[in-house]
Subunit: 150 residues, 2 copies
Amino acid sequence: MTRQKLKDSLHNRSVSQSRILRFREGFVWQAAARKVYKDEPESWRGVTRTSLVGGADEIPVPFHVRYFEVEVGGFSSLEKHAHQHVILVVRGRGLVKLGDRQDSLSFGDVVYVAPWEVHQFRNPEGPEPFGFLCMVPADRDRPVLVREQD
Amino acid sequence: MTRQKLKDSLHNRSVSQSRILRFREGFVWQAAARKVYKDEPESWRGVTRTSLVGGADEIPVPFHVRYFEVEVGGFSSLEKHAHQHVILVVRGRGLVKLGDRQDSLSFGDVVYVAPWEVHQFRNPEGPEPFGFLCMVPADRDRPVLVREQD
């Protein structure tokens, strides 16, 4: 954690444990680092993850809120898992694959991904990054990668 | 449920239980009704609630995602509760009261409300409605209203 982030973080916790994470231009949040999306680098391209609440954070919460961003030409892993997740688009446009179905998504669209549904998010056309919030239970299983031919 | 909503709802469930809720101009979602915020009408003004995932929905999920909108001059109840919640602003500007602190909020800002923190959302200046997502655990306690002088 950089000195500025530590300072922001301490400031934000000065009133009990409640806190405000400030949004900055370019879909960056104060004191929340953009990180590499996940391991298995051959399964995805051009995706970053920003943990907004939960995860690396020290506050124990029953659900985690993350911001994922897919650059133009990028895609998340084609995967499935037992846990449910909910996404809500906040930047740009993209595609979601849900089982055999594919749909375009833009600002405000909500996707509920049911348990074990094979899914993937892609940004084939841009012109800007495709960004969405993703809410998941804190206690969740690890995703299983799916090969296109499966 | 209206006939159109039922039709939308059935369409959305045609691929397993996964579904997409389409965003419409004016912060309305397909097949998701705007409802009155809550009982105790004397404690709030000009607030609507739209359940996006969970709640009245038949899909059991461990957390609920709602969209709240506060019209210009409106405010939510000043309240507290044991459960945590997370909000993220998606429309307009407003104020959040967190304990003795008050902060302005705009697009993308995230608020984590800790257990038993007294809180309230207000839209004193507009010029447009103040809208935010609110994520809460599905299993939660009922909020306790707080009087200003408490």
